[in-house]
């Protein structure tokens, strides 16, 4: 009973927050409501006994990613969106159709496969220990690869957002000049 109550409460909250993200005109509000959605999702995770994931989820999403979003929104000073054009309205209508169709399809699929999905008798708790063990034994290689991926992400972000530094006139950069000279030749 408790579980059902919490589930309906927080799933409702999540959906509301998500809808607000999509429909609000103010980007700042959108980010903040996404934070709310993340929190309620984390509680759903707890309901599913995924304690470690729930904590990480809050830390990473709410704590890191969305703060980053907020920074960017503030930094760029993105204001409200302009009023919708004609094509924009078309997108809304047809997008609505597509999305509703998609939802219906998902419902159909879930209905079709639901009989096979049995509840597991034992409840595995997603503690740090359990998840960590799995992560560092069976999924060790993918884990390491994700770390490389992260590194690449960081480097990529740095390179992309760095302001192009033009060498001042007369200043000679040997490596770059040779490079440039060759590419011109080719």
């Amino acid at each position: 009973m408790n579980e059902a109550f919490f589930f309906y409460l927080f799933s409702g909250l999540t959906l509301l927050a998500a809808l607000y993200v999509v429909f609000t005109k103010n980007p700042t509000y959108a980010v903040l409501s996404l934070v709310a959605a993340m929190f309620s999702l984390a509680i759903l995770f707890v309901l599913l006994h995924a304690y470690f994931i729930a904590v990480v989820h809050v830390l990473v999403y709410a704590g890191a990613i969305l703060v980053l979003f907020l920074f960017v929104v503030m930094l760029l000073g993105v204001g409200r969106e302009e009023p919708a054009s004609k094509s924009q309205r078309l997108y809304r209508i047809f997008g609505g159709f597509v999305v509703v169709g998609f939802l219906l399809e998902i419902g159909l699929i879930i209905k079709a496969v639901s009989s096979s999905a049995q509840e597991s008798p034992t409840i595995l708790a997603g503690t740090i220990e359990a998840v960590g063990k799995l992560l560092f034994t069976e999924y060790f290689l993918p884990f390491e690869i994700t770390s490389v991926l992260l590194l690449v992400g960081i480097v990529g972000a740095v390179v992309l957002s760095r302001r192009e530094q033009m060498p001042a006139e007369g200043q000679y950069l040997p490596g770059k000049a040779a490079e440039g000279g060759r590419s011109k030749q080719v």
Binding site: V22, V60, E81, I123
Partner: protein, 100 residues
């Protein structure tokens, strides 16, 4: 009694909302936000399956998803900043250099 289907339907709804966001929003930042919704819809079904199938692998994959999401956001935001710097706008209607 909350079954797997409850979670899956919730996940589907989240996904559909995210999709709608991607289709309708024109601000690049908000599109990225909607993408985050999609990620979380997927995460939710992962965790739900992990619970109902009794297999922690699902949770491990959520972990990986988060890493990917983090990278995506880092790069995506960097691109957004770059775009704003060169174009002074984040409106996707005005950014159409993909067409050549």
């Amino acid at each position: 009694m909350i079954t797997l289907n409850h979670y899956l339907i919730l996940s589907g709804c989240l996904f559909a909302i995210g999709m709608y966001g991607i289709i309708t929003r024109r601000n690049a930042l908000l599109i990225l936000l909607s993408v985050e919704l999609l990620f979380n819809a997927a995460n939710l079904s992962f965790v739900a399956y992990a619970r109902y199938l009794g297999d922690l692998t699902g949770q491990v994959f959520v972990f990986f998803t988060m890493v990917v999401a983090a990278c995506e956001v880092a790069i995506g935001l960097a691109v957004a900043i770059l775009l704003f710097r060169t174009r002074e706008t984040l409106n996707t209607d005005e950014i159409n250099t993909l067409k050549w």
